[in-house]
Amino acid sequence: MTAAENTEPTIATRSVFSGRIIDVRVDTILLPNGRETTREIVDHDPSICVVPVDDDGNVLLVRQYRKPTESFLLEVPAGGIEPGEEPEASARRELQEEIGHTAQTLSPLTAFWLAPGWCSEYMYAFLATDLTPSVLDSDEDEFIDVVRTPLADIPGQIADGTIQDAKSVASLLLAMLVLESR
């Protein structure tokens, strides 16, 4: 077996934290050289993010306080996929909850692991267009402002640190390329 084909078989797994949105386990695994090591892994449900673009070429971003970073961040709407929910249905629900709109057109952009070195969260990214107002009550502990930003301003806002969130950078730049090629 070459190093590149080893899939780190689990020798033992130990749960060290179980919470509302994340669980943490420590897996003892076998390395290609026969030694053992441990991997700390955060388990998080799959999730979605959406780039909503209105007919005037504005993207609807959300601004909210993020406790882990102790700052207000500007991000694309996003959220966890609920049990039994398809990624697309989850994207439609979050659009209504977070920015108060539905999308006539929802197309997949791509999907990615958020931090694959240590976390199991896999995120599906969508582009939403043909938006119409439609509000669904949001989670009671979320306080969110909707911010309309011209799509053309996005690269500048990434460069100056106004946008500093991986899923937002990835999905916004991808959406711009997709829209330019349409």
Partner: protein, 188 residues
């Protein structure tokens, strides 16, 4: 340029009422913060503390990316990613970048350009990733971490968009850094 100040209904943040450590491991820690909300109620936030990190888009003189392929236990699959790693001790982002380039792809860079910085999962994790473009590469190897088994994969930079949309590259930091590099190189 300073970030724009935006109007807000979200109040002044989420002051900590109390914090409870829940786990401390080799790399990550977990704490639960009870916070005050703008409506006067309280909520709890589960927070993973993870060291800040770097990721690098290394581009050789022939227009090839030097990516790394490795098994990711958390993802349960092999992934192709840009080289990356945690900042250690007193390192600044540029010294981590230089070290990781030598450890993971066996090269040093004559030129480093900052592409941006972003949080990997700001809803529940503290990790910030600084992204760089590395060019003028020359061979220079440093021994890698004993528990990392990495294969270097060369991919044409002009195929980045296809590699991302086809899902060959499906790692958020890699997608973000590669698309930022496309813009930087496209503007030059």
């Amino acid at each position: 340029m300073a970030p724009r100040v935006l109007p807000t209904t979200a109040g002044s943040g989420e002051p900590t009422i109390r914090t409870t450590p829940a786990y401390q491991g080799d790399i990550i820690g977990v704490r639960i913060d009870t916070v005050g909300l703008p409506n006067g109620l309280e909520a709890t936030r589960e927070i993973v503390e993870h060291p800040s990190s770097v990721c690098i888009v290394p581009l050789d003189g022939e227009g090839n990316l030097l990516m790394v392929r490795q098994y990711r236990k958390a993802a349960k699959e092999f992934l192709i990613e840009v080289p990356a790693g945690k900042m250690e001790g007193s390192e600044d982002p540029e010294s981590t970048t230089s070290r990781e380039l030598r450890e993971e792809i066996g090269h040093a860079a004559g030129r480093l350009r900052k592409l941006g910085a972003f949080y990997s999962a700001p809803g529940w994790c503290t990790q910030m990733i600084h992204a760089y473009l590395a060019t003028e590469l020359t061979p220079s190897r440093l021994d890698a971490d004993y528990d990392e088994f990495i294969e270097v994969v060369r991919l044409p930079f002009e195929e980045v968009m296809d590699l991302v949309t086809a899902g060959t590259i499906r790692d958020a930091k890699s997608v973000a850094a590669l698309l930022l590099a496309m813009r930087v190189l496209g503007d030059n």
